[in-house]
C-alpha cells in the first residue's frame, strides 16, 4: 500500500511536469512577437533579422523546435540564452547562490520570528502584547514590498548611512576571507531585513490562530492537569500539534526561494534568479524562460512530495499505511 501510494504520487508528479513542459513551450510560442521581431533599428535590415532568427533556431519548423526543447529539458542542457548567448545552465547556477542565501535567510528569520511572536500572542490573548503583534503583523504584511524597501534604503542607507545602497560587494572589494564575508553580510543585511519585516507578520497571525485553537483542546487541559511545566505544555504538546501545517507551508514556500526575489533583487541591484526570470520573459528569451520555469516546476513538485512525506513523519495520524492497521 505504502509503495503503491508513493508510486502513484510519483506518477502524478511526472504528469504535472510533462504538462508544464508542454505548456512552457506552447505559451511562449503563442505570445505575440519573438526575440527578433521587437528589434526596431534602421541599421538592422530584415535580412539581418532573418540571419538572427536562423542563429536562434527560430527558423526551424515548430515541431522540430519542440523536440529540441524536450531533449534540452530532459538532459538539463538548456542551450544558449538568446539575450546573452551563454549557456542557460551556467547563468542559472551563477545566480542561484545569491538568491538562495537572500531568500533562505529571510525565510528562516521571518518564520522563526513570526512563529515565536504568534505563540507569544496566543499565550497573551487580550493583552497589550497580542494587540502589538496583531497590529505589527497586519501593517508589515500589507505594505507593498518595494515601498518598504525604498523606505528602508532611504532611512538606513541614505539619511543614516549604516548599510550600503546596493549590490553584494564593496568597490573596491576588501581582501581576506573574513573581510569578504563580513562585507557580503553587511550588504545583504538590508535586503534580508526588509524581507523579514514583510514576512514575519503573516507567520505570526497564522501561528497565533493555530495556537489559540490548540491551546483550547482537551489534551492541553489534560497536560496542565498532569502538572507539566508551561513550557512543556506549550512547546511539547500544543505547538507539536500545529507543526504539520507549519511544515507544509514552509515546504510549499521553497519554490518561492528561487522565484520570489524579483522585486528585492531589482531594488537592491542584486544579481539573482529573480532578475534573470524577469529579463527572460520580457526579452522573449525562450531557452532561459523555459529552463527557469521548468526548474521552478521541478522544485515545486519535489517540495509537494516532500511535504506529504514529512507531514506523515510529524503526525502519526496521517502516516502513510496507518489507515490499514
Amino acid at each position: 500500500m505504502k509503495n503503491r501510494w508513493f508510486w502513484g504520487r510519483l506518477l502524478s508528479s511526472i504528469g504535472v511536469l510533462a504538462a508544464v513542459l508542454v505548456l512552457n513551450f506552447i505559451l511562449f510560442r503563442i505570445m505575440p512577437g519573438d526575440a527578433v521581431s521587437t528589434i526596431i533599428d534602421p541599421n538592422f535590415s530584415p535580412e539581418a533579422k532573418d540571419r538572427l532568427r536562423e542563429l536562434y533556431g527560430l527558423d526551424k519548423p515548430l515541431l522540430e523546435q519542440f523536440f529540441i526543447y524536450i531533449k534540452q529539458m530532459l538532459t538539463f542542457s538548456f542551450g544558449l540564452s538568446f539575450l546573452s548567448r551563454k549557456p542557460v545552465w551556467d547563468e542559472l547556477i551563477s545566480r542561484l547562490p545569491g538568491t538562495l542565501f537572500l531568500m533562505a535567510t529571510s525565510m528562516f528569520l521571518s518564520s522563526v520570528l513570526g512563529i515565536w511572536l504568534g505563540i507569544k500572542a496566543a499565550l497573551n490573548r487580550g493583552k497589550l502584547a497580542e494587540r502589538i503583534v496583531l497590529r505589527a503583523g497586519a501593517v508589515t504584511a500589507s505594505f507593498p514590498g518595494f515601498f518598504v524597501q525604498l523606505v528602508l534604503i532611504m532611512l538606513l542607507a541614505r539619511t543614516f548611512p549604516i548599510f550600503p545602497l546596493r549590490g553584494s560587494v564593496s568597490i573596491p572589494q576588501p581582501t581576506g576571507a573574513l573581510s569578504v564575508t563580513l562585507d557580503y553580510l553587511w550588504h545583504m543585511a538590508l535586503p534580508v531585513l526588509s524581507l523579514t519585516l514583510m514576512g514575519f507578520g503573516g507567520w505570526a497571525l497564522y501561528v497565533r490562530n493555530l495556537m489559540l485553537k490548540a491551546l483550547g483542546e482537551d489534551f492541553v487541559l489534560m497536560a496542565r492537569a498532569r502538572g507539566l511545566s508551561e513550557n512543556r505544555v506549550v512547546y511539547g504538546h500544543a505547538f507539536r500539534t500545529i507543526l504539520p501545517p507549519i511544515l507544509t507551508i514552509l515546504l510549499m514556500s521553497v519554490p518561492g526561494l528561487v522565484s520570489g526575489a524579483v522585486i528585492t533583487e531589482s531594488v537592491f541591484s542584486l544579481h539573482g534568479v529573480g532578475t534573470f526570470l524577469l529579463e527572460a520573459v520580457s526579452g522573449h528569451d525562450y531557452p532561459s524562460a523555459g529552463a527557469a520555469f521548468y526548474m521552478l516546476a521541478l522544485i515545486t513538485v519535489i517540495s509537494n512530495l516532500l511535504a506529504d512525506v514529512v507531514y506523515g513523519l510529524v503526525d502519526p495520524r496521517v502516516r502513510v499505511g496507518g489507515r490499514d492497521q
Partner: protein, 567 residues
C-alpha cells in the same frame, strides 16, 4: 491664429529648451569648452568603474551619496530636478537621437489622404504635451530626423500646431462635422472609430499618457480616436502586419539620414521591414534611393534635403518630440566635457577627466543594465557596447562639436567611385596613423583591419551583417593603407566600414566558434581569453551584478601626446 500669436507660441516652446540646455550645461566643469580633439591626451585616470545599478531610484540615491561620479540617461523629470538641486553635482543636457512618432496607416481611410494627415499633424499640441508630461525635458519636433542630426533641416522644431488650419484643411477636402462634432467623410459616411495603439501604462507610463493626449487632440478636430493599450510585442506585431489605424512608437536614429530609406521606402513595406506606415510614393522612393546610394557628400546632402521636404509634404507619420539626454557629474572631477550635442557621460570626458583634488582614484560611472555578454560578435545590448566601445576603436570617430566624421585609427580616408567591368562601385581608402598599438603592445596594422572585415563578412554576423554584406574585396597596400571595394555605390559605405570595431588578426585567428566564444572565460574553450583592442580602456574585472572595472590602456594612441595640454 495670428502671426504674432504663432511667433509667441514658438518662442514659448523653444526658449525654455535653450534655457534648459544653457543653464544645465553651464554648471558642468568644462561645458562646451572648445578644444582640438587631435591635441587631447588621455585617459588621465587609471581605472574606470562601471557600477551596475538597474534601479533608477538607487542610481539617484547613489549619486547623492557620492558613490557615483557620473549618472547617465536620467529620464524622469523628478530625478532631474532633484539632482539639479544637489550642490555636489553638475548637470548636463543635450539633444538626443531619440524621436517619438505617431504612426498613421497610410493604406487605410482616412489616412490615405496626405491632406488629412496634415490636418492631424496640425491638431496635435506638442508643446503642451512636452510641458505637462515631460516638464520641458523634451523638444517638440516637426522633422523625420532628430534636430541634433547635422543633416536635419533648420525648421525641424517649427511649431505647426494650428487647430483652425486643421479644420480648414478637412473642410477643403469636403469633410463635414456631425452635431456631436464627429467627422463625416466627403461621401457622407461618418468616420468610424479608430484605435490608437500604445504600450501598456505599467510598461511605458509616459508614452501611454502621451497617447491619451494625442487622442484628445485628434478628437478635438473630430477624429473619433480611442486609445488601445497593449503588450509591446503584440503592438509591434500589429504594426508590422499593418493591422492598425494609429500607433505611437519611439526609436533611436543614427546621425546619418540614410535611415529614412528604411522607414519610408516602399521596398521596406514587408514583413519585418520598418516602413510601418505603408507609404508608397514613387517620387519619395526615388529621393530615398538617391539618398541611400548617393555617391558623395554633395549628392547625399541634396538627396537628404529633398527626402525630408517630401516627407514634410507627404506626412506619412507625425513627428511629436525628441527626448533630451540628461546626465549628472560629481563636481569632484575636472575636465568634464559636455555641449548641446553630448552629455557629460561621453568618451571625451572619460579620456580627459581628472580628480579635482589631484588624488588619483577610479571614476565611478553607472551602468544601468547587466552587460551579460562581452563577446563583441554576439553582444547586442547598448550596455554591453558601453563597455566594448571603450575597448575597441574604429577607423573613423565622431567630432564632439559637429558630430561629423573625424580621424580615429585612420588619419585620413577617401571615397571614390570607380568603374570596373562596366559597373560603378565605391572604393574606400583608409590610411592608418603611424605607430598604432593594440592594448597588449603589439603593432596595429592594415592587415588587422582587413582580418576584421574578412571575419565579419565570412561569418555573416547579424550585428555587422548590413555593414559588411556589400564588401567586394579588401586589399592591403602597405602596413598603414587599406582599400575596400564595395558592390555598387553609396556614400554611407564610409560610415558602415569606418564605424566597425577593429580587432587584432591574431585574436580572430584563434576564435574557433564566434557564437560561443566567451572572452572572459580563462579556459578559452571557443577562443582566446581576454579582449584586445585599441580603445582607451581595457577590461580589468567583470563581476556580474556588481561592477565592470576597466583599466587604462597604456598603449592608447592619445597617451603619446601627454606633453600637450588642452587648456
Amino acid at each position: 491664429m495670428s502671426k504674432m500669436q504663432k511667433s509667441f507660441t514658438r518662442l514659448f516652446c523653444i526658449l525654455p529648451c535653450f534655457f534648459l540646455i544653457t543653464v544645465l550645461n553651464s554648471t558642468t566643469a568644462s561645458a562646451g569648452e572648445r578644444f582640438d580633439p587631435e591635441k587631447v591626451y588621455g585617459p588621465r585616470i587609471e581605472k574606470l568603474c562601471m557600477v551596475i545599478i538597474t534601479n533608477a531610484d538607487s542610481q539617484v540615491l547613489a549619486a547623492e551619496k557620492g558613490e557615483l561620479d557620473i549618472v547617465s540617461d536620467i529620464s524622469r523629470p523628478s530625478d532631474i530636478d532633484r539632482l539639479s538641486r544637489d550642490p555636489g553635482l553638475s548637470m548636463s543636457l543635450a539633444r538626443g537621437f531619440h524621436a517619438f512618432f505617431l504612426l498613421l496607416n497610410n493604406k487605410s481611410r482616412p489616412w490615405n489622404d496626405p491632406e488629412v494627415r496634415h490636418a492631424a499633424a496640425e491638431a496635435i499640441d506638442r508643446n503642451n504635451m512636452v510641458r505637462t508630461i515631460y516638464s520641458g525635458y523634451c523638444e517638440p519636433i516637426n522633422s523625420w530626423l532628430p534636430p541634433v542630426s547635422p543633416w536635419s533641416l533648420p525648421e525641424s522644431t517649427k511649431n505647426i500646431y494650428d487647430k483652425a488650419s486643421a479644420k480648414k484643411r478637412l473642410s477643403a477636402k469636403g469633410y463635414k462635422w456631425s452635431i456631436t462634432g464627429g467627422l463625416i467623410y466627403p461621401d457622407g459616411t461618418p468616420v468610424g472609430k479608430m484605435k490608437l495603439l500604445t504600450p501598456l501604462a505599467r510598461v511605458a507610463p509616459t508614452t501611454a499618457e502621451l497617447a491619451e493626449q494625442i487622442a484628445d487632440s485628434l478628437r478635438s478636430v473630430g477624429f473619433p480616436v480611442d486609445v488601445e493599450p497593449m503588450d509591446f510585442s503584440a503592438m509591434i506585431g500589429k504594426l508590422d502586419r499593418k493591422e492598425y489605424s494609429l500607433g505611437v512608437i519611439a526609436w533611436s536614429m543614427g546621425k546619418n539620414p540614410d535611415s529614412l530609406y528604411s522607414f519610408y521606402h516602399s521596398s521596406m513595406d514587408m514583413p519585418g521591414g520598418y516602413n510601418m506606415t505603408s507609404i508608397h510614393d514613387p517620387v519619395l522612393d526615388d529621393a530615398l534611393l538617391r539618398l541611400r546610394y548617393a555617391k558623395n557628400r554633395a549628392d547625399a546632402e541634396t538627396a537628404s534635403k529633398k527626402s525630408q521636404l517630401l516627407l514634410a509634404e507627404l506626412m506619412p507619420s507625425i513627428p511629436v518630440y525628441s527626448r533630451f539626454s540628461v546626465s549628472a557629474v560629481s563636481k569632484k572631477w575636472k575636465n568634464v566635457f559636455s555641449n548641446e550635442k553630448m552629455t557629460a557621460d561621453n568618451m571625451w570626458t572619460l579620456i580627459m577627466a581628472e580628480p579635482a583634488d589631484g588624488k588619483e582614484r577610479p571614476l565611478n560611472m553607472v551602468l544601468a543594465e547587466e552587460p551579460r555578454n562581452l563577446n563583441p560578435f554576439v553582444a547586442s545590448s547598448a550596455y554591453s557596447w558601453q563597455i566594448l566601445g571603450l575597448i575597441y576603436e574604429s577607423l573613423i570617430g565622431t567630432d564632439p562639436f559637429t558630430l561629423d566624421d573625424m580621424p580615429s585609427l585612420a588619419e585620413s580616408w577617401s571615397v571614390e567611385t570607380v568603374t570596373n567591368d562596366g559597373k560603378e562601385h565605391t572604393r574606400l581608402t583608409f590610411r592608418l596613423r603611424k605607430g598604432l598599438k593594440w592594448s597588449d603592445g603589439s603593432p596595429l596594422t592594415a592587415g588587422d583591419v582587413k582580418a576584421t572585415l574578412d571575419f565579419l563578412k565570412k561569418n555573416s554576423i547579424p550585428r555587422f551583417f548590413d555593414s559588411v554584406k556589400n564588401i567586394r574585396s579588401v586589399r592591403v597596400t602597405d602596413s598603414t593603407q587599406l582599400t575596400v571595394d564595395m558592390d555598387g555605390t553609396s556614400y554611407w559605405y564610409l560610415d558602415n566600414i569606418g564605424g566597425l570595431p577593429c580587432m587584432p588578426a591574431k585574436v580572430l585567428q584563434k576564435v574557433n566558434d564566434w557564437q560561443n566564444w566567451n572572452p572572459i572565460d580563462p579556459k578559452g574553450k571557443f577562443g582566446p581569453y581576454g579582449l584586445v583592442g585599441a580603445g582607451p580602456f581595457m577590461l580589468d574585472e567583470y563581476r556580474p551584478g556588481e561592477f565592470v572595472m576597466m583599466k587604462r590602456n597604456n598603449h592608447y594612441r592619445m597617451l603619446e601626446k601627454k606633453n600637450v595640454r588642452t587648456e
